[in-house]
């Protein structure tokens, strides 16, 4: 629930009315099966990934599943004519070699030839320089948010229009009690079945929140910028010991920024009076043989700078009680018992 819906429901509570959003059965039109191109290259070492899929009918997952676009030929070409081919690692997911990374100032295009023979090309994307992150900051006392907000602070270069994307990934320590594991027998009755391993894991999280954090400097050119990169909500486990936030600051072209902003705006639609109207999301991919075809997605090339910061449970003013896991900690997705080299 976003802010404005809160206002709405708040207003309704003033009138002692119940919450006001419910499901509605509607028949959506049959799908336009459009090519969806998701992915980017940046100045970090590869592999960089491009995902190809087909849009499907909006509605329940059972109605129509999103299909991946397999067996396509995908390559990135720079302005000097150098080409790097991507190989399909899993269905519809294409990866650059690990030694490939984008270079600041260079222009790249993404080229795709589908299995069907249709050819697509992106408009040219120039990698904009990005300033280093000077400081990563954690705020744990934001009003009405239980958890940690991670901010990046950097010096915006004066005299140029800069567009930024901020992202945050995380790793945390999860201590569990595998010896207390309880299974259920076929009759549904609990049967203690202690496990030997493992009671300490490092859990990786990709994108700590689902928000898209964007910033442009049109009103603050040349200033020190402090902007939210992600919010890590307290769930009783993340801050059990310590949490590491890895902040990534990417440069964007104006077009990439507008595309992401449009997606962000569309994701914010929640039915209230402040909603923007549904908009057509236009990207930068073009069908070479049929320029009028709608293609979803934007091929982006960015420069990145990164920083990390740790938060311990003690820093939270009002931590949730610990949500004890009585199992092998490896049952959690992306959990590993291997301690990362940078972990203190």
């Amino acid at each position: 629930m976003n802010y404005f819906n809160k206002i709405f429901c708040c207003a309704l509570i003033v009138f002692s009315l119940p919450a006001c959003i419910d499901e509605l059965n509607v028949e959506t039109p049959d799908a336009q099966r459009l090519l969806v191109v998701e992915g980017f290259i940046d100045t970090n070492p590869g592999p960089h990934r491009i995902k190809l899929s087909r849009s499907a009918k909006y509605g329940s997952i059972l109605d129509d599943a999103i299909q991946n676009e397999t067996n396509a030929t995908v390559w990135v070409r720079d302005e000097e004519g150098d080409q790097v081919f991507l190989s399909e690692s899993t269905d519809g997911l294409y990866e650059t070699p690990t030694n490939f990374s984008a270079e600041v100032g260079k222009k790249y295009t993404l080229n795709i030839t589908l299995n069907s023979g249709e050819r697509y090309i992106s408009t040219s994307e120039e990698v904009q320089a990005v300033p280093p992150i000077d400081e990563a900051i954690i705020v744990t006392d934001a009003p009405f948010r239980l958890g940690a907000e991670a901010y990046a602070r950097w010096q915006d270069p004066a005299g140029i229009d800069n567009f930024y994307l901020l992202e945050a990934d995380g790793i945390y320590v999860l201590n569990s009690r595998p010896e207390l594991f309880v299974a259920r027998n076929p009759f549904g009755n609990p049967v203690p079945m202690p496990k030997d391993c493992c009671d300490r894991c490092y859990v990786s999280e990709f994108s700590v929140d689902t928000e898209i954090h964007l910033l442009k400097d049109n009103n603050s050119d040349g200033n020190v910028q402090t902007e939210l990169a992600g919010f890590v909500p307290d769930d009783g486990r993340r801050f059990m010991e310590r949490y590491m936030v890895a902040i990534k600051l990417s440069s964007l072209t104006k077009e990439a920024f507008q595309f992401l902003e449009l997606i962000k705006e569309q994701l914010s639609i929640e039915g209230n009076i402040f909603d923007p109207p549904p908009a057509k999301i236009r990207g930068n991919m073009i069908n070479l043989d049929n320029p009028d075809e709608d293609v979803i997605g934007y091929f982006r090339a960015s420069a990145v700078s990164s920083d990390t910061i740790f938060v311990t449970g003690e820093e939270l003013p009002d931590p949730l009680p610990i949500d004890q896991l009585n199992d092998d900690c490896r049952v959690i997705e992306f959990a590993s018992t291997v301690k990362p080299p940078f972990w203190p």
């Binding site: 819906n5 709405f8 708040c10 969806v36 499907a56 901010y151 603050s220 402090t226 039915g271």
Partner: protein
Amino acid sequence: MKKLDAFTAILFLFALFNTSLFGQKTVGKDNGGQGPFVISVAVEDGSNRAPLIGASILIIGEGEGNITEENGRAKISLKRGTYDLEISYLGYETKTESIMVLGDGLMRVRLNTSAQTMQEVIVEAEVDRNVKSTDLGKQVMSIETIEALPPFVGEPDILKSITLLPGVSSVGEASAGFNVRGSNADQNLILLGGAPLYNPSHLFGFFSAFNTELIQDVSIYKGGIPANYGGRASSIIDLRFKRGSQEKWEGKAAIGLISGKFSAGGPVITDKLTLMVAGRSTYSNWLLRQVNDVDISQSEANFYDVNTIIDYDISDDFGVRYSFYRSKDRFNLAGENEFEWSNQNHALSFNKSFKGKFQINLEAVQAGYDFTIFEDDPFNSFRLDSKIKDQGLNLGFKYFVSETHAISVGAQTKLIEIRPGNLRGTDAEFPVDPVDIDTEKGNESGIYLQHNFEIGRFIGISYGIRYNEFRFLGPNSIPVYDPLLPQNEENIIEFIDYSDGELINKYTGLEPRASIRISIDDKTSVKAGYNRMFQYIHLISNTTTIAPTDVWKLSDPFVRPQEVIQYSGGLFRNFKDNSIEASVEVFYKNIKNIIDYKDGATLLLNNNLESDLLNGRGEAYGAEFYVEKKKGDLTGWVSYTYSRSLRQVIGSFPEETINDGEWYNASFDKPHNLSIVADYKLGKRSKISGIFTYSTGRPVTYPVAKFNYFSGGNIAYYDKRNQNRAPDYHRLDLSLTFGFENEKKWLAGDFVLSVYNVYGRKNAFSVFFDDVQGAPPQAFRLSVLGITFPSLSYQFKF
């Protein structure tokens, strides 16, 4: 079923009590006698207090009455009890007064003529005005009618009542705007006591922002708009204030579920100066604090409005009026963010009449609107202010050649200043760069001539012409765009700077208006009309309804004036001695230069707003059917409208074109619109009233596909706008009014029990698509008041 039984029981109980008149005045001193008493009724002109000679007073239900004599007074003889008097006079609005006779006494009745407002010519008695005048697309709602409707949360609401009339619709409950004959909400001019009102709502549209206690009546012009009105392209909503009583101080107070209000008025200097004051406020803050949820109990939702009206009679035919109005809203969610908005209007007018033949009216008005958003972020705390100031001067002359012939001329000018946005940091530790969007300044002037006359008994003609000049003034810095490229920020070649008051560009507009009436017989007439109107101020809002944080924008070198040309016609007929009015009206509108928005447009704090705007055109047409029963125990009306409103936006580039350049439904296009309003008198002081409304669901956009991005959920992909429809809207409201009789005035009040949305339909305010965890991606509906919602209010006079 149980609920219904209980309701019937309460209804029956209330019906048992019906004791005295609803909203009556007492006449005479109570000496306990039974009469008959002599009641002297003085009938006066509402504006200049001149006695009206020959006015008729009818005691309803008794079939008796009298005619006023030379001094404007008539004597009637009545026993102790309660009566309804109908006072009528040729050329004046008929008035019904409820009185309780306790002894010998005098009662004063003021009748209003349209002559005092200079906006229309009334030459016939009011009862068959709809048939006998040239009025087309005009409707007058008395405050009594509005107060008789089932109120929402105990508050009668003028703007919500207007949407029950043919040709007027709204997009839903929480919406401040309404649409008249297929036009955008910003094309309505709302005049409160002569001054324009920029935001007519409290609490994000749940309530109208003004107190009904002070409103005399509301005139709605949907077409056939007289030439003295200008500045908005579609409709005029003219709310006239009451005048304080010249007899004695009297007041009224009402307590509703979430708000309370009062009004009081009376003489300050007898026969010279009267004063009227009113106030309204909510106690929702107190209610919020009772809620257990910390997010809510620390929230704030507050509004109030206050009014003052002073009338001073310099002489019998020379009057001065000053009115002041202020409203304020404050909304704060759990200390996180805060909104504030406020209207403040002043109006000063001088009215001089020369023997009722010639009138001069001079009016100075100032309207202001401002809103502030406070953002409180750890490193980014700021306040954003936006303001509008609108100052105008109107001079009008009106000459009544004869009863059926009048000419008026006038000149109007106004200076509008808009500060679209000023952003300031509020945390010294983390300064935020100030942002100042260029202030816009414009001068809008108009001269007009309006001529109304009749040719014989059967033809009435009313025509007018208005000439406007709009000057967009400096200081401002105007970008020059590369003419070959899309109007984007990066295609700006240079800026041209203009100094304070320097003319940047000018628009002129000639607005002919005309309507003709041809009477077929005494009870039937056919009318036709034409009018053209320009609009130089535009609401910049990319949402479906008016939000308090929408900014207004003046026409400038890029944004051309909106223009509406309307053709309309109608058939009017009255039945049963004018007690039933019926009409069919049709209209066609050609709408030019309406504003639309590029996908992803930034509307707040954008110094080159024009680069996000699109220019479109529109078309609207429809037929309106209306039957009203005006007399008897059962009164009310049925209104049905079939209308369409379409838009087309074709730009030079794909991103400047909507729906591939095809015509599409405006987002408030609701073809079928039905309202049934009924008011049934159960007894002298109790009644039951109901509203049923039905309309086609408004256009929505369904996604044509879903796709995955950011490895998150499914995202909806939209292609063409407004191709689908939300479920139909329908709702029934009921209310029961019941009054007590008591020696103590505050106990002799009226209870109003109302039930909003009786059968609890979840009407969709919006339909949207979302992929939330734990459910497949699907459509959701937001219903603002999706339950049966009862409320109770109490009002009394003092």
